[in-house]
Symmetry: C2
Subunit: 158 residues, 2 copies
């Protein structure tokens, strides 16, 4: 479980448009790709090297939802140190390149927009654009998500 003290994390009031965060890395292998696929995305191109060859992907590739889940792990474990954690309401995603066995993924995020809530003084929304890249610098996922972020003032109130 991720646990941080108040001084480590950023409240809505601490964020600025253009602020950037860089995550740790995650190395993905064929076993992880197949295990995720067996549970959530059982399609030939995520399950079996030989079967994947004749598909759109031309070889074993990770499920896009697996890439999204790894991206979340990288954000939650230091890639976006927000107070209250990473709580998404929705957003947009794209997978411009396939993720392959042996890839090492890393997430770079940028604050795009900050919107204090008019009705709820204790929180607001921040839009975070997170690009997940492999070790060659190729972007494998772009995620632009609206996050619920608490305000510092409110949280100081007992």
């Amino acid at each position: 479980m991720v646990s941080r003290t108040d001084s480590d994390v950023l409240y809505l009031d601490d964020l600025q448009v253009g602020q950037r965060f860089v995550s740790g890395t995650h190395a993905i292998d064929a076993d992880q790709i197949k295990a995720f696929a067996r549970e959530f995305d059982p399609q030939p191109f995520h399950l079996d090297e030989a079967a994947a060859k004749d598909t759109f992907f031309g070889g074993l590739a990770a499920s896009g939802w697996h890439v999204a889940a790894i991206t979340m792990k990288l954000l939650v474990t230091g890639g976006a140190p927000l107070a209250g954690g990473i709580v998404g309401a929705g957003g947009e995603f794209a997978w411009p390149n396939a993720t392959r066995p042996g890839d090492v993924l890393q997430v770079t995020s940028e604050v795009m927009e900050i919107t204090p809530s008019r009705s709820r003084p204790n929180r607001g929304m921040a839009t975070l654009k997170s690009e997940t890249r492999n070790q060659k610098g190729e972007v494998v996922q772009v995620l632009t998500a609206k996050l619920v972020v608490p305000r510092r003032a409110a949280s100081a109130t007992p």
Copy 2:
């Protein structure tokens, strides 16, 4: 692994705007929620009932990415019988309600747009809007995704 014969599946040419599909169901429990969270989204509101009480969610809730992954499983295992499988390029998502232990999820999808490729005669894009609901009929996820779908004519060519 999902395997279908040619007559079971829909090519781009077989799709119509407004066409609807309904998936099977998936029952989610606290153990599944915590197992996914430990691997991909280790935040208190996905890991521990007691710790979740004082958070935005007010109790244990599934990671949104877990809901997305279960939605994919339901689409792949009969919820959207597309030739070539479910291959997403990107799209939009929203999580309007939390998913809780004991929820039974089902996905209803509708074809929103069909766009044959100008440069690649053997495929095109279809936009599929998939609403994931719980047993009370509450929408827990809306996913609007652009999918790569092969064309029937091209696939008949050896």
